[in-house]
Amino acid sequence: MPREITYREALREGLDEELARDENVVIIGEEVAEYNGAYKVTEGLWKKWGDKRIIDAPISEAGFIGIGIGASMLGVRPVMELMFYSFAYVAFDQMMNNAATCRYMSGGLINVPIVVRGPANGGTNVGATHSHTPENIFANMPGLKVVTPSDAHDAKGLIKSAIRDNDPVYFMESTVLYGLTGSVPSNDELEEGELIVPIGKAKVKREGADLTLIAHGRAVVTCLAAAETLADKHNIHAEVLDLRSIRPLDEEAIMASVRKTHRAICVEENKPFCGVGAQISSMIMEQAFDDLDAPVLRITSADAPAFYSPPIEKLQLPDPDEIVARALTIC
C-alpha cells in the first residue's frame, strides 16, 4: 500500500531525517520552533530536537540568513526558513552577494552549504508584498541553485538533497501545495533505505506525444489538469515535464521531450519578463528549432503586481483553461 502524506508532512520528514543524519544541520527561522512554524512545516521538530537544533529567529532576515551563511563557512549546515519567499528581498545582499560569490572571490577556498526554504507563490489573496515568485531572479545568479518541488514525493526527496548539497540551495515551496497529498514511499519500502531525489533531474509527470507542457512548482499541477482536459475533450496528448529545479536545469529532458512532441508551452507562475520560460524557450529555439512544428508559447502570471481581490487574483495566474486554449492554437 503506497503511503499518502501531505507535501507539508513530506518536507517535515525530510528535515527530520536530515537532522538525525547530521548533527551540523540546524533549522533557523521566524516561528519555526516554539510556534511550530508559520505554515506548520516544522511542527514538532523543536519538541524533538530542542533549542540547539531548531532556532527561533527574530524578524531579521538579513541578520539570520547572514549568520547562517557565516556559520556554514565553518561547517554548520543551516536550513533557514523564510516565512514567505517574498521576504527574501530584505536579505537580498546576503543571498545574492555573500552566499553566491564568496566561493568565486576566494578562488574556491570557501563554500556555503546553506538551504533557504519557504513558500514562493501567489494565489492566496495576501496582496502583492506577500505573493512574489523570485525563482527567476535567484536563478539568474551563478553560484546559486533554485529548487521547486511540485509534489509531496519530490518535496521530501529534494529537501534531503538540498541539505546535503555543498552549494547554496534556494528551495521554493508553495502554500497552496502544503496541504496536498501524494504518495511517498516509507523508508522501509526503499532499497536504499531513504528517499533522495537528485537536484537537476526533471521528471515526466505524464507522457504524451503531441505537445510538451514544461512547468515547475504549482504550475505542474495546473498543467496536469490541463493535460487531462486536452486528452478527454480534444484528443491531444500533452506530456507534462516537471523541471523540479530551475538551476541546475535538466536541459536534456526538455530537449528530449520537445524532439518527441514538436510543440512546447512553458507554464509558470513567474512574471513574464525574463521568466523561466523565457530562458527555456530561447534554449529550445537554439537547440531544437528544426524539431518544432509551432512556435514555443509561454504562459505566466499576469504582468502586474498580485491583485488582492480573490476573484481577480485567480485570473492573474495560469489556469488549466488558459493552457487548453493556448494549446489549441498550436495543435
Binding site: 541578520g63 545582499d93 555573500n98 572571490m105 576566494s106 578562488g107 537536484i199
Partner: protein
C-alpha cells in the same frame, strides 16, 4: 569640514598583563608587522600608478595598529572577517606578500587566483574569511562564524571589523541584536577613521557623546572606545573583549580611533578637500601608530634607530620582491572563468554533473 581631532588622553596601557607578557622580540615583531603592511601598500600604490593594478585600492596606511594589535591576541579557534580595506588584516594573519600582491595584479598566483582583487582577500586556513566589498555585508557573517564556534562547543571568537560608515547599515544592527540575543562570541571592531569616503562621522551618524560604540547599550552589549595610536591600548582593550567572548560567550562592540593618511581609495581625488591638510598633517605627526610604537620601543630601550631602519628596509625589499613576483606571474587562464562557482561542479560530484549549471552561449 575638518571635524576630527587627535585624542589627547594617551593613557599608558603597558602595564596590562597581556602587554607585560610581551618579550622584546614580540614587541619588535609587532613593529615589523606594521611596517610590512605599510611598505606593502606603498609599493602597491606605486604599481597602481604604473597601471598594473585595476579597480579600487583602499589603503590601510595609518590604521596598521588596529589589525596588528587585535590579531596578535588570537589563538587557533579565533576567526577574523573584515571589509574591503583588508590588506592589513591579511598580512597580520600570516598571508604572504606574494599572494597578496599577485592578487592585486590580477594574477593566477594571487590568493584568490585573481578572482577577488584588493577588496576580497581570503585565507580560511588562517581563519581569515575575507575581504568583503559591500559596506557592513560582512557583519552578519561575523556573527555567523561566532555562531559556528559556539555551536561546535569551541572556546573561540570572531573579530569582525567594519568602518565608521558601516555602522549605519541595517544589516549591522540586525547582527548586533542577534549577537546579543543569541549570546555569540563575536567582537565587532569599528575602525573609526572619521570618514566614510568624503562624509565625516558628524555628517553620517547620530551618536551620543561617548561615541559610536555606545550604540551597543541599546542591544544590551558591552562596549569600549580605544585610542588606536597605541598597540598597548589596543591589545589591552581588545583582550578584554576576547576574554568576554571566550569566558562568557558574550559579544562586544569596540570603537578604535584611527586615521587613514591617504584618500578613501587611490581613486579618491578629494582626499584633501573634505578634510584639511592641517588635520591630515596633525594625525600623521601625532597619531601615526608606527611612529608611536617605534618611539615607545626606543624609550623602552628595546629598539634602536638602526634596528628600525633595518626593519623598514627589509620590509621594502620584501614588498618589491612581491611586486616582481606578481609581475612575473601569469594571468589566470580563460578556462578558469567557470571554476569556483559551484563546489559540486568543481568536485565533479553526481550533483555537479546533474543538469545544466551554466547558461552562456
Amino acid at each position: 569640514m575638518a571635524s576630527k581631532s587627535v585624542p589627547q588622553s594617551l593613557v599608558p596601557f603597558a602595564d596590562a598583563p597581556i602587554n607585560q607578557s610581551l618579550t622584546a622580540a614580540d614587541k619588535i615583531d609587532l613593529l615589523r608587522q606594521m611596517v610590512r603592511i605599510r611598505r606593502f601598500e606603498q609599493v602597491s600604490l606605486k604599481h597602481y600608478h604604473l597601471g598594473s593594478i585595476g579597480g579600487f585600492l583602499h589603503l590601510y596606511i595609518g590604521q596598521e595598529s588596529v589589525a596588528v594589535g587585535s590579531i596578535s591576541l588570537l589563538g587557533e579557534n579565533d576567526h577574523i572577517i573584515t571589509a574591503y580595506r583588508d590588506h592589513g588584516h591579511a598580512l597580520s594573519v600570516g598571508m604572504n606578500m606574494n599572494e597578496c600582491m599577485a592578487e592585486l595584479f590580477g594574477k593566477a598566483t594571487g590568493c584568490s587566483k585573481g578572482k577577488g582583487g584588493s577588496m576580497h582577500y581570503f585565507a580560511p586556513d588562517k581563519n581569515y574569511w575575507g575581504g568583503h566589498g559591500i559596506v557592513a555585508g560582512q557583519t552578519p557573517l561575523g556573527a555567523g562564524l561566532a555562531f559556528a564556534i559556539k555551536y561546535k562547543g569551541l572556546k573561540g571568537c570572531c573579530l569582525c571589523y567594519l568602518g565608521d560608515g558601516a555602522v549605519n547599515q541595517g544589516a549591522f544592527h540586525e547582527a548586533l541584536n542577534l549577537a546579543s540575543l543569541w549570546s555569540l562570541p563575536v567582537v565587532y571592531i569599528i575602525e573609526n577613521n572619521g570618514y566614510s569616503m568624503g562624509t565625516s562621522q558628524a555628517r553620517s551618524s547620530a551618536f551620543p557623546k561617548e561615541g559610536l560604540a555606545a550604540r551597543a547599550e541599546g542591544y544590551n552589549m558591552d562596549w569600549d572606545v580605544i585610542d588606536g595610536v597605541s598597540l598597548y591600548e589596543i591589545r589591552a582593550g581588545v583582550q578584554k573583549a576576547v576574554e568576554r567572548a571566550h569566558e562568557q560567550c558574550r559579544p562586544t562592540l569596540l570603537e578604535i580611533d584611527t586615521y587613514r593618511h591617504k584618500g578613501h581609495s587611490v581613486a579618491d581625488a578629494n582626499a584633501e578637500k573634505y578634510r584639511t591638510k592641517e588635520e591630515i598633517q596633525e594625525y600623521m605627526n601625532k597619531h601615526d601608530p608606527i611612529e608611536f610604537w617605534k618611539s615607545t620601543l626606543i624609550d623602552e630601550g628595546v629598539l634602536s634607530e638602526d634596528d628600525y631602519k633595518a626593519i623598514h628596509k627589509e620590509a621594502g625589499a620584501e614588498a618589491d620582491a612581491a611586486a616582481e613576483f606578481a609581475i612575473k606571474s601569469p594571468f589566470p587562464d580563460e578556462s578558469e572563468i567557470f571554476d569556483d562557482v559551484y563546489w559540486e561542479v568543481d568536485n565533479n560530484t553526481e550533483a555537479g554533473r546533474s543538469g545544466r549549471h551554466f547558461f552562456h552561449g
